[in-house]
């Protein structure tokens, strides 16, 4: 049994390798986050961020054609030994897709399986909406259809839905992709408030170094499915040890490609 809410959960990934039909997506990645901490998985597209996040909540194993080796320990327990129901309850992966028509039901949908009394559900919906900073905006039209075309509203409602059950581990897979800078700030602010509540450990996948620096104390830089370097945000941004991290952070793509090419050649027998 995982520690129940409102306790955050630790995550440890040991030698995770993910293969699919077209090749290796994640290469022997090991990393850990202490309970209540934040980690940004930073890297460009196809660096393996999503696969690691999906592996953490067990969803990746359900994707056909994926072969996964290594271990994912949540709260010290191998995720294979945790029931799917408990895993879904305690590990929340934000999926920015609408599941319902009204703000209320969008959030409440995640509470359905708990079969709590209606009053308790309403209280939890309000708590989640307040935490993501939407309560004032939607309280008068909780039961009316909302504008699904508003990406900020949709994303914040999905965030409220994900946290309504107080997951001990919150996984965000490039959650502000495509948002403008002010909406991004609003979303990041909501996550900072969630973190301050202390019930969740947060892993945030992002392509933007700026965002990684703003939201996480620890950063892991991934490139081509490989964990290149990890450390405190301050150390990594000021003095990265690996030339690939340096090239990514300074935007020196020619050097990054050249270094990645030579890395590939070295690893081939």
């Amino acid at each position: 049994m995982l520690t129940p809410p409102p306790q955050p959960l630790s995550l440890e990934i040991k030698e995770l390798t993910v293969r699919c039909r077209d090749g290796i997506r994640v290469k022997n990645v090991s990393l850990s986050v202490t309970a209540g901490g934040t980690l940004a998985l930073m890297g460009p597209v196809n660096s393996g961020k999503s696969e690691i996040l999906w592996a953490a909540n067990g969803l990746l194993a359900e994707v056909p054609g994926m072969s996964i080796t290594g271990q994912v320990l949540i709260d010290g327990i191998d995720n294979h030994n945790i029931s799917v129901k408990e895993l879904r309850h305690r590990v929340g992966l934000l999926i920015p897709v609408s599941l319902s028509r009204t703000p209320y039901s969008e959030v409440a949908v995640s509470l359905r399986s708990l079969s709590s009394p209606a009053q308790e559900v309403a209280a939890k919906v309000e708590w989640a909406l307040r935490l993501v900073g939407l309560w004032k905006e939607v309280r008068d039209r909780l039961h009316q259809p909302y504008n699904h075309a508003d990406p900020t509203l949709l994303r914040l409602l999905c965030l409220a839905r994900t946290i309504a059950r107080q997951p001990g581990l919150l996984l965000l897979d490039d959650p502000t992709r495509g948002l403008d800078s002010i909406s991004r700030a609003r979303f990041e602010d909501a996550v900072v408030r969630i973190l301050a509540e202390g019930f969740a450990t947060i892993i945030w996948g992002t392509r933007e170094p700026d965002q990684a620096g703003r939201v996480a104390g620890q950063i892991a830089f991934l490139y081509n499915g490989e964990l290149v370097e990890s450390g405190s945000a301050r150390c990594l941004f000021e003095f990265p040890r690996d030339p690939r991290t340096e090239s990514f952070l300074t935007g020196d793509y020619r050097r990054l490609y050249a270094l990645a090419g030579s890395e590939k050649r070295r690893s081939q027998p």
């Binding site: 700026d210 941004f237 340096e246 020196d252 050097r255």
Partner: protein
Amino acid sequence: MNEGRCRLELDAIHQYILRMGALVEEAIHNADKALMTQDLALARKVVAGDDDIDQLEKVIEALCLELLALKRPLAGDLRAVTTALKVITDLERMGDHATNIAEVALKLGEAPLIKPLIDIPRLSSMALQMVHSSLDAFVRRDVELAEKVCRDDLPVDRLYFELYDVLLGFIMEGGDKIRAGQALSLLLVARFLERIADHATNIAERVGYLVYGDCNRVNQSGVKPTASAETK
């Protein structure tokens, strides 16, 4: 220097710093020469030239702030721009000290000197060599040279203290206000040169930050700029 998004701006900043460094070296050299040869025209030229150095500092500072605001440099670029901001402050102070020396030369005028100047030119050439080497180390990111600059600060401090004792002797003799005044002015010159060497040491220490991300990697022996002669 990498080929990343800040390359052009950092190249420009670098070039400006080299220009500023050349002006500062020239100012120190000329101030010293003006004092030695009692060349008042040269001394006035040094004083007037300080505006160019100050102006360059403002230009470089503006370029650095623009780069920080627009490109948000990270990693090596971040270290390069923050180091540039620190280095120009040191260079500007050195320029001020060169002006101070030139002002002393103007004050002393063409009156005969109390003693032949031997140690001050020595001190001056040591300080100038340190300034030159520190800029060289900064440009080439040469940690060994930077470490040598830090080591070279010790003999400068020693010579300054020797001069302090000699000139204090002149002042304490008493009786002759002109002699005491000259001794005091020359003591100030020695002090300015010693401070210039300290600023060169600062630049050398920043090379350690550029290369290793740690200011304390260069000058590990902990040779610190001396606070004042009185504390020796």
